[in-house]
Subunit: 344 residues, 2 copies
């Protein structure tokens, strides 16, 4: 069973793999090669993965056989384990709990060569639909306090398989970074009685200098103080605290902006590795007026070094205004976004 | 002039290079190759760097010529600029200030092939002496609130030159990570009336399961909740809030433990890239009783991915108890640490 341990000084939790921990010789050599064995995420190899949890598949096809379009499975090497009750325990001055949680993989396409940016908008929408359904299901488990949906693309961004996939991890505590965002949004709300993200969206749509693309429901921007070059945020234009409240109509709209951003980043930066994460208010607390869900997308172009680890400062060599312009200008040759329905 | 910009939600500052910002094609290809041009840090090439600020050199040799043992220069491509007055400014709802600060490079040895772990203890002590003198000097500048000393070794850890060197950056604000540590230590002190790091040292020396090495004045441990496999902390055994208070006698003692840890990590993990950072209380505030300076050393073995970026959680595949055992067992063939004097 993995353990959750708390740093006693700053309160950050870490997940420690206590069984079969990695030995010194287990760390991969520092190359950018992706595994070339038979792909367990390809159709026909369904038996190489844990059984499916939820799948979008063609009528008349059977579970754990080909015929699926989007397939969710448990992670074969989960960071946290689904079985058991939560137990907190002290170890002298330290704190730990057993590593209860869920760790799932969403295989986004049966096509080994296809990336999100080259899918149709309706295909991307099916992936987002799957995120929503899995998060809603896991939120019913009273042991979990947060569900984080994220994607790692490319070895340098942490992916161990190249077949396009996302992941989600449900944790028994609200993560530190999420708590910090909630706290920051709360402080602003107490002072202004407005959502800080709504104010950001308003200012960015007014200034236009950091906007990359938008449609009726969503806007993509380079944030004012990005940690990384070409860091990109996607936000709903209307206030909404939780991603899972998104309706089917606006899922298409989000898919259009997400695909558009990924396409621009891939074009301008020569198909870089990247991560994206859905930031949303936890289902376990009431932050309806104060928090505003969004997606943070970070191409992996620079390396985090000692100064960043020590201070929490980041050094970003590309001003977001310049990055936004490069990404906007990629528009000329971009496939035109499909028209999307306005929100009801 | 670079800009410091503040994330409006969580209050994190970032440094934005507003002049000559990197364009999409400026990011290096993702290989682990270190630059092979003529090394500007080698003796004879002193004119390829900015003039020296402080140098330990042989009698009878001249500034900016060979004959030095440890040489500090301004960074040729500084993240922050030393000239100017601090100006804070609002940009709509956002906050920024001009990027005032200092960014120096400490060239640790004239020998291009030599690493800290293969130096003599007295050579390492000279590097630490240089850290102390430069920090003390920069703390006299009333524009600066913090000075972070750090080292990046290897391309994967963020180094752009292979010749052994450290860096320091003085910032006009107390960095977020430092403020979090001060706040955590303060909360513990309010509750217990003891320094949390002193309690950690006491428990670790008692348990012995996470201790790697120690001498009269310093102890090296794997922390209870490490972010990364083989993350190692070096702490003074006696309470002390600021690194710069270290006396010449204990500099030798710290050099012995630092060299020993680096040697063990290099041996056990096959010379990995790494970062280390000196964490200390800022000179601008009074945390004498509550904070305890230390060095955090992180070998670069894993990649930070979407889950970590989104949550602030870390997944560590090697329990610190196992890592400590691997590093302790490397002792057999380690060069015996030289005897060090006890503190006066």
């Amino acid at each position: 069973m993995p353990e959750l341990r708390k740093d006693p000084v700053i309160g950050r939790w870490v997940i420690i793999a206590t069984e079969r921990g990695k030995r010194p010789t287990d760390f991969p050599t520092r190359t950018d090669r992706v595994d070339s064995r038979i792909c367990p995420f390809c159709p026909g190899n369904e038996s190489a993965t844990p059984p499916e949890i939820l799948t979008l598949r063609e009528h008349g096809t059977y579970p754990n056989t080909p015929g699926w379009r989007v397939r969710t499975i448990s992670n074969k090497f989960p960071a946290l384990k689904i079985e058991g009750d939560l137990q907190r325990e002290g170890v002298g001055i330290f704190d730990k709990m057993n590593g209860i949680g869920a760790h799932e993989v969403i295989i986004e396409t049966p096509n080994h060569e296809q990336e999100l940016e080259s899918m149709s908008i309706s295909q991307v929408a099916e992936v987002l639909w799957m995120y929503r359904e899995r998060v809603l299901d896991l939120e019913k488990d009273s042991r979990f306090r947060y569900v984080m949906v994220f994607k790692n693309k490319g070895v340098a961004a942490g992916a161990s398989l190249s077949h396009s996939h996302s992941q989600l991890i449900a944790t028994p505590v609200v993560p530190k970074r999420v708590a910090e965002e909630l706290s920051g949004a709360h402080k602003y709300f107490e002072y202004k009685e407005r959502c800080i993200f709504c104010d950001i969206v308003r200012q960015e749509l007014n200034d236009k200098i950091r906007v990359i693309s938008e449609n009726d429901s969503f806007v993509a921007i380079e944030p004012f103080a990005p940690r990384f070059p070409f860091e990109t945020w996607l936000l709903p234009k209307q206030h909404e605290s939780r991603f899972v409240k998104i309706g089917d109509d606006r899922i298409e709209s989000l898919a259009a902006v997400l695909k558009d951003c990924l396409w621009r980043i891939s074009t301008v930066l020569n198909n870089p590795p990247y991560n994206y994460m859905i930031h949303a208010a936890p289902h376990t607390s009431e932050h309806g007026l104060q928090y505003h869900w969004h997606i943070e997308l970070i191409p992996k172009l620079t390396r985090v070094a000692g100064f960043e680890w020590g201070t929490g400062f980041y050094i970003n060599p590309t001003p977001p205004e310049d990055a936004a312009q490069y990404l906007r200008e990629a528009q000329v040759t971009s496939p035109a976004p499909q028209p999307v329905n306005p929100p009801h």
